[in-house]
């Protein structure tokens, strides 16, 4: 899976939790899930669980700590996919 495909998939996963639709439409690699997209921090857990299911990976807590924006999430997803 290349980065573009992963980004599209990530966007679909994140979309239902987003409270700032405008920020979502302008999503870039620096977009922060909580401060830009206004995702409730309790829902970030749901996003991580959804990512695990969608990509078939497991995200340990140390990796989870870093997943606060789009690029970080994509990097971790890619790392976990290659580890398999």
């Amino acid at each position: 899976m290349n980065r573009e495909e992963a980004t599209t998939k990530l966007k679909e996963i994140v979309k239902p939790y987003v409270k700032d639709q405008e920020a979502f439409d302008k999503l870039t690699e620096n977009t922060d899930f909580i401060t830009d997209l206004k995702i409730n921090s309790a829902n970030l857990v749901d996003i991580i669980l959804d990512i695990e299911e969608a990509f078939g990976i497991t995200i340990d807590n140390v990796s989870m700590e870093k997943m606060t924006n789009v690029t970080a999430a994509l990097e971790i997803i890619e790392t976990k996919l290659t580890e398999q």
Partner: protein
């Protein structure tokens, strides 16, 4: 330093299913999971523990400027409305109030500061410096969720 977190209980219930497989393990340590399991009202306990972690995290974030998503590392050492949260070697002191509609936890870096809490009715006179709210020189913590907003600060030393 002060931090707070308010949770609108009906919104929280609508937004998050904490019973989802894998959910609790991502946020709560085994000790905290035991508090939830032993509770007469696990829904309330889940959100109380969460609000304590969030309010402690707010202090940590303000002091260090660090933004990381690691709720599990802020461990509630007890399940008490006057409780302690521990992150690495730092303790935060928490006070939790609740009604059937909301939970509100306030955290302070010093235990005695819990006696100096001032509730503000609105955002008048609050200014932001580097994104952090202040009332004159006193740090202010603001939290809102759903129908509720709570604004707190500490009494100035006289």
């Amino acid at each position: 330093m002060i931090g707070n977190d308010v949770i609108d209980l009906s919104l929280a219930t609508a937004e998050s299913n904490w019973r989802r497989k894998g959910y609790l393990e991502k946020i709560f340590t085994p000790r905290e999971q035991q508090f939830i399991k032993n509770s007469d009202n696990p829904d309330l306990t889940v959100w109380k523990l969460w609000s304590r972690k969030e309010s402690a995290y707010k202090i940590f974030n303000r002091i260090t400027g660090n933004r990381v998503y690691n709720p599990i590392r802020f461990e509630c050492l007890d399940d008490s409305d006057l409780g302690i949260v521990c992150f690495e070697n730092t303790l935060y002191f928490t006070q939790t109030q609740y009604t059937k509609n909301y939970i509100h936890t306030i955290a302070t870096s010093l235990a005695n500061d819990l006696n100096k809490i001032v509730y503000l009715e609105n955002r008048m006179q609050i200014h932001k410096k580097n994104g952090i709210p202040y009332l004159e020189l006193n740090p202010v913590s603001i939290s809102n969720h759903g129908r509720f907003e709570k604004i707190v600060t500490l009494q100035t030393e006289s």
